[in-house]
């Protein structure tokens, strides 16, 4: 079973207010998350119409475990909560 699907990845990108770096017809778009004017994380979003396309690489992109990444995609973990985790890891 996939932990993170494309639908989750898009929710996460939207929640983190990521800027999408368009790359023409390449297999991935790169979503860049900024905090205080600096890019602190990049995540790859696969192209394709399938909502359940596997994106199990997203937790690593965000320096999170799968469970917290899913919380980010759903409701409980906020952008501010994630920024706090990144600060604790000296990544923001």
């Amino acid at each position: 079973m996939r932990i993170i699907t494309k639908e989750h990845a898009l929710s996460i990108a939207k929640k983190l207010k990521a800027e999408i770096c368009q790359r023409g017809n390449r297999p991935h778009d790169i979503a860049m998350v900024f905090h205080e004017g600096r890019c602190i994380a990049t995540l790859g979003i696969r192209r394709g119409s399938q909502k359940d396309l596997g994106h199990d690489h997203i937790p690593r992109d965000l320096h999170l475990g799968p469970h917290k990444a899913r919380l980010l995609a759903q409701c409980p973990l906020s952008r501010d909560g994630w920024i706090e985790i990144m600060k604790q890891k000296a990544l923001a």
């Binding site: 790359r23 790169i30 596997g54 690489h57 690593r60």
Partner: protein
């Protein structure tokens, strides 16, 4: 004495079973204890009943023991199957990256990426730069990872200035520049 159920004759559920020769059922099945008809004394029964109980317990015990052993083996097999599945799911392969063709990227120094099974698919990772990609197969995951490496290199190297990079992306571009460069 041979044990055989053919020695039983029909009896009502309320009557004690008797063999065809008129002997009581335990005797018919090889039980050596006295029958009330043989001795008729209560002392004989008091000595015989514990032996009968032990004989029945032995018979049940040997059958039950083999069932318990079988259950134990089945449990062990299930545990081993679960362990094997777990180990298979953790299996990683290491893939060397030597080219990004047809991308305009040249490999300065070949590097390795790790592909791990993640349930329904695979995740390929270039751990040094923390760049990751998913795929339905190992090949697709590696191919997607190459695209992600190229995309990250492009976005961080060409679209952002150094001052716009946080600690993570700064490390990513620093690592990438050791392994790849734009081909002219």
């Amino acid at each position: 004495m041979r044990r055989t159920d053919s020695c039983l004759r029909e009896s009502s559920p309320l009557e004690p079973l008797e063999g065809l020769d008129g002997r009581a059922w335990p005797e018919c099945h090889g039980w050596q204890g006295p029958s009330p008809r043989a001795s008729g004394t209560q002392q004989d029964w008091e000595r015989a009943i514990p032996r009968l109980v032990l004989a029945i317990a032995d018979a049940l015990g040997s059958k039950g023991g083999s069932e318990v052993r079988l259950l134990g083996i089945q449990t062990k097999v299930r545990l081993l199957e679960a362990r094997l599945t777990d180990l298979q799911s953790r299996t990683s392969i290491i893939v060397p990256i030597e080219s990004f063709a047809p991308e305009p990227i040249e490999v300065i120094k070949p590097f390795h990426v790790v592909v791990q099974n993640k349930g329904d698919g695979f995740v390929a990772t270039f751990f040094d730069a923390n760049i990751n990609a998913s795929g339905e197969t190992e090949e697709e995951a590696v191919s997607n990872l190459k695209d992600m490496i190229a995309g990250t290199f492009e976005c961080l190297d060409r679209r952002l200035k150094a001052a716009q990079l946080g600690p993570g992306p700064r490390k990513q571009i620093s690592v990438l520049r050791k392994f790849i460069k734009w081909s002219v």
